[in-house]
Every structure is written in C-alpha cells, then in structure tokens.
C-alpha cells in the first residue's frame, strides 16, 4: 500500500519535473548553437530573458504569442488524447483565419460587436473543423496515416490561402497580399490600451477550462481517452471507436481554427500572407511538453510564446536566426519522451530484478 502511494507520488513528481527539465535543457542546447566568441551563453540567455519578460510590454507580447500556441496546443492535445495525431493545425488555422475574415470584413454584421466577433470566430472554427474532418474521416474509416494526410493538406491549405490573398480577397488598394482591414466591430480589443494583450487570452483560458472539463469530466472525454489508451479495449467496451476518432479531429480542427481567427482579429485586424510563423507546427511541442494536459498547456504555451517573442527580439538586436527555437522545441520533446521511456524501462528492469531476487 505504502509503496504504491510513493510510486504514485513519484510519477506525479516526474510529470512536472521532466517537462521543466526538458524545457531548460532545450533552451540550453538551443542557445549553445548561437553562441559565438563575441556572444557568450550568458549574454544570449540574459537577452532572451529580457526579451521575454524584461518590460511590461515584452511580457505582454509573450502572452500575445502564447494565445495562438495555446489554442493549437489544445487542438493537438485533444485529438491525440484519442490517439489521432493532428499535424495539420497550421493549415486549419490559416483557412480559419481566411474564413473568419469573410465575416469580419462584412459590415452587414456590424450592428453589434459581440455578434460580429462571435460570428467571425464561429466561421473560423467551422472552416478549421471541416478541413480537419477530412483526415479524421480517412483515419477513422480507412485507416490512413493521419500525419501524411494532415501534412499534405497543410501545403494545400497554405497555397489556397495564398491564392485568395493574392486574388479574390486581396485588398485592391494594397501592394501586399492581404485582406482589407476588418470592420472595427469584428476586432478583439486590447484588455489594457497601452499593452498589446487582447481578450483572446481570456477566450483561451475559457477554452482550457472547457477542454479540461470535456476530457476529464464528461462521458465523451472518457471515451476519447479510452480510445487513445487502447482502441481494441474501447471497442470491446462498446465505444464507437471510429466516431470518436472523427469527433476528436473535428473538435481539434475547431480549436486550431480559434488560433487563426483570434490571432487575425486580436493582433493584425486583417489576414495577410505569412501571418502565422508556424503556430500550427509549434503546437506539437506545446501539447507534448504539457503531457496533453489542458492546464499544462497554459504553461507550455506561455513558455513557447515567450520563446518566440524573445527569439524575435534576438533576431532584431543580434541577427540571431529565429530557427534556433526549433532546436529548443525538439530537444525538449525528445528529452521529455525519452525520460518517460527510460523510467518505464527502468521500472521494468527493477521488477525483473525483484522477481529474480
């Protein structure tokens, strides 16, 4: 009894400790890459810290970066809880932003900001959900590898968005491939006028609460997790495994869609080509570092958001390539997942050792 309790305490301990260690190790490895003779590790780390948290304005920007990462992180975590790996958040969020823009530029909905914002967000999420339902259907009913399908669909989505921004939806009076500015009634406003943090952050926290509730307190969530844990067992228990897989992708696409529409409405107030620096791809690291836990995603999205913000500042100030954050992301994931693997192998080894003794 007591040994069982300590082992549970131990795993709870490692569940928090490994991601933190992974994040720190990732930052260290990533930073070593950009260290030169003139640029010591401490200078890089110090500048990163300053860029992310040094001033109220930097801190606010870190949170602004965290919002889309949080939504896409939730998206990846949601479907992956059912064992479906959605690598397509990037395509979903881009199409969602475009779809939200169709509503957001239309003055017909301008009679109430609340209605306009809500409709635009819904339009975005619907587009994301629709785009994600294709790999969802193929995975659930045909057994296609969802990673290949979502990845191919990312390229298609990004090219489609590019076509619309250069063609039918282009602002005719602008040189750049971008839509006209959204109607003011479709803006997601700033919380404090002097800082760029917008109400999208609150929408994100609400989404965390909903996703946490659905995953951990509802029958649907129980089915999702049981399909993710053991599809055969879930089928045996009478769960509609295929339906659950598809539903998990639809919800995932809708969440990824929120990232795109909220980003467009809260930050740029329009959609332009390349408005997402890859929030959909960062989502993988966000979700995995958080161990798929919605509450954990608040922290991991903030960590990676701060990192993007800091890296942006480093690029401007020192010409340090922003790509080094991908080294940080991948080192952190590989560390966290390998640490779990190592602990599992170690436990197995100890069990066999005890049996032998």
């Amino acid at each position: 009894m007591s040994s069982k309790k300590t082992s549970r305490d131990f795993s709870r301990y490692t569940a928090v400790l490994t991601p933190v260690l992974g994040a720190l190790l990732g930052v260290l490895i990533g930073s070593l890459v950009v260290v030169t003779r003139e640029r010591s590790l401490f200078l890089v780390l110090g500048q990163m810290f300053h860029g992310a948290f040094g001033t109220w304005s930097n801190f606010s920007s870190s949170m602004v970066y965290a919002v889309p990462l949080g939504f896409t992180g939730l998206a990846v975590a949601f479907s992956y809880s059912a064992g479906v790996f959605n690598i397509g958040a990037e395509g979903q969020l881009q199409l969602a932003a475009l779809s939200a823009a169709v509503v957001a530029v239309n003055p017909a909905f301008g009679f109430s900001p609340l209605v306009h914002v809500t409709l635009a967000i819904l339009a975005g999420s619907a587009a994301g959900a629709l785009w994600a339902s294709v790999p969802g259907l193929l995975k659930a009913y045909k057994g296609f590898n969802e990673i290949v399908v979502t990845m191919l669909m990312n390229y298609i989505a990004i090219l489609l968005v590019s076509y619309f921004l250069q063609g039918p939806m282009k602002n005719p009076s602008s040189y750049y491939p971008q839509t006209v500015r959204f109607q003011q009634t479709a803006w997601i406003q700033r919380i404090v006028p002097s800082l760029n943090l917008h109400w999208g952050a609150v929408i994100f926290l609400a989404a965390v609460a909903v996703v946490w509730f659905v995953l951990h307190k509802s029958v649907f969530g129980f089915q999702i997790r049981s399909v993710g844990f053991n599809p055969e067992g879930a089928r045996y228990a009478g769960t509609n495994v295929k339906g659950i897989m598809l539903a998990s992708m639809v919800v995932s696409g809708a969440l990824a869609g929120l990232a795109g529409s909220v980003e467009a409405m809260g930050v740029y107030r329009r959609v332009m080509e390349g408005f997402s620096p890859g929030y959909g791809y960062d989502a993988i690291a966000v979700a995995l570092l958080a161990g798929l836990n919605p509450i954990g995603i608040i922290f991991s999205s903030f960590f990676f958001g701060a990192l993007r913000n800091a890296a942006g500042n480093l690029q401007v100030d020192f010409g340090i390539p922003i790509s080094f954050i991908y080294i940080i992301q991948s080192s952190a994931i590989v560390f966290v997942i390998s640490a779990q693997g190592f602990l599992n192998r170690f436990k197995m080894f100890m069990r066999r050792f005890k049996h032998a003794a």
């Binding site: 950009v34 990845m151 390229y155 010409g319 390539p321 080192s331 997942i337 390998s338």
Partner: protein, 310 residues
C-alpha cells in the same frame, strides 16, 4: 492550349524532367522502406532529407560535391542515432520522435545557415553534379532520357534491385521482414530485433541524406529554408502506396515525378492559372492516389515499439 499540353507531355524533355524530379523521392523511399519493413515508422524522412540537403550543400561548398554527399550521409546517420536510441532502446512513441526530428532539422538547418553565412544567404552557390550520359543507352530514341541523368538518379536506379535483393534474397532481409511482422517470434528464433532496427534506421537516414543532397548538389546548387517542402512526406506516402515493395514504390515515385514535371511545365507555359494551383498538384495528387489505392497491408508490427516484456 490542350495541344500545347499534349505535345509537352509526350516530349523527351518532359520524360527527362519527370525522371529528375522522381529521383529524390526514389532515393528517400528506397531508404525509408527498410525501416518501415523492420517495423519502425520512419516519418522523419522529411527532416533527414532537409538535413541531407543542408549538409550536402555545406560539404560541397567547402570541399566539392562528393565530399558533400559523404558529409550529408555521415551527419544524418549520427543524428538518426537519437531516433534509434529513443524509439528502439527506450521504446518510446515513434511518431512523436519522428515529428521532433523534422522540427530539429528545420532548426539545425535554419540556424546554422545564418550562423555560418550571415543574413545574406541567397548568393551562396555550390558546384553541381553534371549530367552523365551513359554511352549507347543514352542514344536510344525517347527512352534515352533515362540514361542522361546525374549520379543521384543512377544511385536511385541501383537501389531498386539492391533493396529487392536484400529483402527477398538475403538472410538479413528475411530478418528485417520477420522483425516487422512479428518481433517476438523473430526474437525467439534468435534474431536480434534491436540490431535489425538500428541498421534499418541508419540505412533509411543515409539514403534520405543522399536524397536531400540531390536537391542541393544535384539540382539547384543552393540551399533554401525548408526546401524539401513535403517531398519526404510524399516519399513516405509512396512507400505505403507501393505496398512496401521496392518495385511498387519505384512505379509510384515515377508517377509522382510525372505529376511534378507536369505542374512545373504548366507554370513555365505561362498559362492564366494562378501559380498556386499547379504548385498544389503534387500534394493533391498524392492525396488522391492515397484515396484511390487505399492504404494496403502494412507490416504488422509497424510503429509498435518492441520490448521483450509483454
């Protein structure tokens, strides 16, 4: 318009460019197929191709194209050990590590390109491998195009029979297939599952590296961020579509080469179609091919980590 398209498609130049565009896919797929058949899901093809393209470029930039190829292979094999240790030795989720390998490749290539060369990377070029005409064969009308290619394409041709022989004529290949179907049974028969899977991963990363290097040293002579642009995923899809058989995979990648040549020519013809749609074609066609052909029968233990206890 239609006449133009038809006369384009049935030209020797079109055949030649189809082959050229299929060759990185062929190299990557002939690498990946060993890993897949040994039961290890190798979604990292994309990332290793990108690393291969970059380190191939780097080696070639400083020491010439042949050193470039070797550099690409060496670096990719070393980095693939991260993948091998975590997925085979520590038995962690192959999909997750594959995806992180792809992210890692984006990071390493993007960061080092600028650390080494600064912000102005667009003028950097390296020597490219020239086309080698094979005497007699290259003078065959029309089909001579197969024998007017560069070294990378010939390596690709060679790999098809080599992989075929490995799979179906050697003990090693038998073991690879056994490990991919039922690692427990294979282990009982005295096969070292971990060793087979390590070798398969090293093989896959080595030829993904050559495939990537073919894009810089063989093709463009320059390195551009994320220049593989999904070719690794298309090669992966080709392995599935080709039913995990070297000959099936060869036919599939050739089909993808034709699609790619078609869209490039369509763009070059200066038609009124917005350029995004031709660019989309390789991805759309891969998806459609996937839908029409179905996913087929994969090795039974594909993607399942192996631990002796279970």
């Amino acid at each position: 318009m239609l006449h133009d398209i038809l006369s384009m498609v049935f030209s020797e130049a079109f055949l030649s460019s189809s082959i050229r565009l299929a060759s990185p896919l062929l190299l990557a797929a002939m690498g990946g197929i060993l890993s897949e058949r040994s039961g290890v899901l190798f979604l990292g093809l994309e990332g290793f191709m990108l690393l291969g393209a970059f380190f191939g470029f780097l080696g070639s930039y400083y020491f010439g194209p042949y050193v470039g190829i070797l550099t690409a292979v060496a670096v990719c094999m070393v980095i693939s050990l991260i993948y091998a240790v975590s997925t085979v030795t520590l038995a962690v989720n192959q999909v997750v590590v594959s995806v992180s390998m792809n992210i890692l490749a984006l990071g390493i290539t993007g960061a080092y390109l600028r650390v080494l060369f600064g912000a102005h990377t667009h003028q950097l070029t390296t020597v490219r491998l020239r086309v080698m005409e094979i005497p007699l064969l290259s003078s065959i009308p029309f089909f001579g195009a197969f024998f007017r290619q560069n070294l990378f394409t010939y390596i690709g041709y060679l790999l098809v029979p080599v992989v075929y022989i490995i799979f179906f004529r050697t003990k090693w290949g038998l073991n690879i297939r056994a490990v991919g179907e039922n690692p427990h049974a294979a282990e009982t028969m005295g096969v070292n599952v971990s060793r087979i899977r390590y070798l398969s991963i090293l093989w896959a990363s080595a030829f993904a590296a050559v495939a990537g290097a073919s894009q810089t040293i063989g093709n463009l002579g320059i390195f551009v961020d994320n220049m593989i642009a999904g070719k690794g995923f298309i090669a992966f899809a080709a392995i599935i579509l080709g039913r995990f058989h070297p000959l099936g995979v060869m036919l599939t990648v050739f089909f993808f080469g034709i699609v790619d040549a078609f869209q490039l020519n369509l763009q070059a013809m200066g038609s009124s179609i917005p350029y995004q749609f031709p660019l989309m074609m390789p991805y759309v066609f891969t998806l459609i091919a996937f839908l029409l052909a179905g996913s087929g029968k994969a090795p039974k233990a594909w993607g399942v980590p192996y631990t002796m206890e279970k």
